[in-house]
Symmetry: C2
Subunit: 420 residues, 2 copies
């Protein structure tokens, strides 16, 4: 990374408003993300831009209307120069609209839903520092094209609140539908029992199954599919696991119940799409610092893992500083939110965990991995594909068995369909 030489050029007081939930049940809560932002702040003001001073206010966004209330209550006194967050879609929407109207840049590691891609109007000042669901969906587009699949069944669980899986699957739906694939879907309402018989009936009619659901639901479906012999290669199964991939690889087929060995066999047909993990030396220091802070805050050690949101909001401050520097150098000021936003777009820089590339629409290009079970005895998973968003390329690992992704000829023939 080439750092600017005349760092002394940037003498600015920046008011930052962070809008995240206080509640630690969210993996992007204030107590979790704060250490990552403070790490970036200290580093930026200390080494890179000694004249750059951030005053950071942390306000509760909850996962809904509270975000807008917090923004408005604070902004009536003095408007912030930069907003970080919100993550939850329903919290983010009104905040981004209001901020765009007020000419304030918003950077979020959330707001991943497809609707926020529309930057021409109400979301004009939004930069997304984590890859959106639409970016994730490119992985499926690449796989569908490569293997010549035609039909997909999307199965997702909907809690009618945060709706992560709804928005996740919406991205896949948008991409594949536009590209001309036949897309069907099944909703599983949270707290309703899973009707595996109904689901199996719909799987018969498709080729590829893409799931986004809780671990138990996925296991129920895979067990049912295995018992009907649908895991023999006539169908391809995927599960999307974006935010807790580290815990997934050690085998969520395992429950310690009597179905474990059956589940292990079933999961040998289940592929997992996750965020690609990169490791660089500097990242270790960051991780250690953040973990220490989180543990000091009294959040259990189990939940102290560094996640996409912590990385993202760290890099958000970095990206803002780079853009602000450029804008100030060009003779403009921190008050020109539109220009700062534009300066953050179509740009690559070195983030805390590796290279970060923001596309010309202000959305981060994403790298994703496809994991499969490479040892059916132990039931362990390894990456067999990597998808790189910046050049839309699919990298195959030597360990891949292409047969695993090739649809076997059906023994079952679907009857003539009703005209739609």
């Amino acid at each position: 990374i080439l750092l600017p030489v005349r760092t002394s050029a940037l003498n600015e007081e920046i008011e930052v408003l962070v809008l995240l939930p206080k509640n630690n049940t969210y993996i992007f809560s204030i107590p979790r993300v704060r250490p990552a932002i403070e790490y970036a702040r200290t580093r930026l003001s200390g080494d890179l831009y000694p004249g750059l001073n951030f005053t950071v206010h942390y306000e509760n966004s909850d996962c809904g209307n509270e975000a807008l209330f917090s923004l408005v209550n604070r902004s009536c006194m003095k408007k912030p120069d930069l907003i970080l967050g919100p993550v939850c879609e329903y919290a983010a929407a009104p905040v981004i609209r209001m901020a765009s109207h007020w000419n304030i840049p918003v950077i979020s590691a959330g707001a991943l839903a497809t609707g926020f891609s529309q930057k021409d109007k109400e979301y004009s000042h939004l930069t997304r520092i984590a890859p959106s669901y639409l970016k994730m969906a490119e992985t499926f587009s690449a796989l569908f094209e490569h293997f010549g699949w035609n039909r997909v069944l999307l199965i997702y669980e909907d809690d009618s609140e945060e709706r992560n899986c709804y928005f996740t699957v919406e991205g896949v739906h948008s991409s594949l539908h536009v590209e001309g694939y036949k897309v069907d879907h099944i909703v599983i309402h949270k707290d309703h029992s899973v009707e595996t018989d109904e689901i199996i009936k719909d799987i018969y009619k498709t080729e590829v199954v893409v799931m986004c659901a809780g671990a138990d639901t996925v296991r129920d479906i895979m067990l049912a599919a295995h018992r009907r012999r649908l895991t023999n290669g006539s169908y391809i199964f995927f599960n999307i696991e974006l935010f807790n991939s580290s815990s997934y690889g050690n085998g969520s087929w395992r429950r310690g119940d009597k179905y474990d060995s059956e589940a292990r066999l079933a999961y040998s047909a289940l592929n997992v799409v996750t965020l690609m993990r990169t490791v660089k030396a500097e990242f270790e220091t960051f991780t250690a610092e953040v973990k220490k802070s989180i543990q000091r805050a009294g959040i259990g050690a189990d939940n102290a893992n560094v996640n996409m949101f912590m990385e993202g909001f760290h890099d958000a401050l970095l990206l803002y500083a780079l853009a602000l520097h450029e804008v100030v150098k060009s003779g403009s000021s921190k008050k020109n939110g539109a220009q700062i936003t534009q300066s953050m777009w179509n740009r690559s820089f070195e983030g805390i965990a590796g290279q970060v590339s923001i596309d010309e629409n202000g959305d981060r290009n994403g790298d994703f991995s496809v994991l499969t079970m490479t040892d059916t005895q132990t039931g362990t998973y390894e990456a067999v594909f990597n998808y790189f968003g910046v050049n839309q390329s699919l990298e195959m690992m030597p360990r891949i068995t292409m047969e695993h992704f090739t649809l076997r000829e059906r023994h079952w023939t679907p009857g003539p369909e009703q005209p739609d």
Copy 2:
């Protein structure tokens, strides 16, 4: 109406913020509705409560985000005591959330969508002074129960912006679905051509057709249905016309084209659900005043009709004054928005056009009429049913022919259906 005797008791300065579109393409634009609000203001301060003084600010809500921006920009200086509007659903939602959070009463003659019925949380301070789509749907519930119909096909046009017909039909869907009827629907996307063949196919499978669409679309569908002999009594057809019913009765089958006589025959099978019109002497003065003001504002005479929104916002100020008087008398103040809101609910009063009854959930009970063509030679319409929301009763006019609403036995038998 019993007016309070000690009117001098109410000495209050009330800041009112009216949030409506400036643009006169909306029949609830500021220039149209303003005369109705001013009429109420003058009357209230002049006769009824001489010590009650309203300062009314009219701000542009557009039909979207602008409403929230207007609210926030004004409220940073000083919060209003009462908000009238917005009407458009997407404009209303964030305003009502913000106002409820700030403890400010909101009264709207719009925000008619079903979602706003949820007053327990984010819409706690909303009072609806015009009957919601859910109230309109009660008319269908009453008819379905009376005539023993079982299946309904909802056909609606969606513009993906204001979405009036989407929200209208949503109300019917919610009611009939909950009551156990079989409900199907077809969306017609605005600016797409109407695929009457597809629609006819779906009509074959139902008993009752309920439409909400532009006049041309309805005419296309009715002509197609007539040509397939579906207007012979085997199916019941409805069109919902809430806001321009006065223009509908003179026959929208008429276009001056070569299909007019065919359309007149087709429309003899089409029933229309509209707002019930009442007339009282005082209303004539109001109407004359409002029309004069609108014409003075340079809006063409054709569009000077008094509509539900004008009546509603007039009555809104009246209702607020009644509630405020009660709250102040009880020792509380205009700052207690929750108490004023509660005081407006579960109350009846004499509005400008007749009795207004607000239910215990803060939503107005509605009266609706069902019109049918009573003279097939001239093609004129008359009311044959009136539905009264306050006691959920259905009144039948002597001129009704029950046969018209009785499903004739089918000549066509549907094939065995696929299990869902």
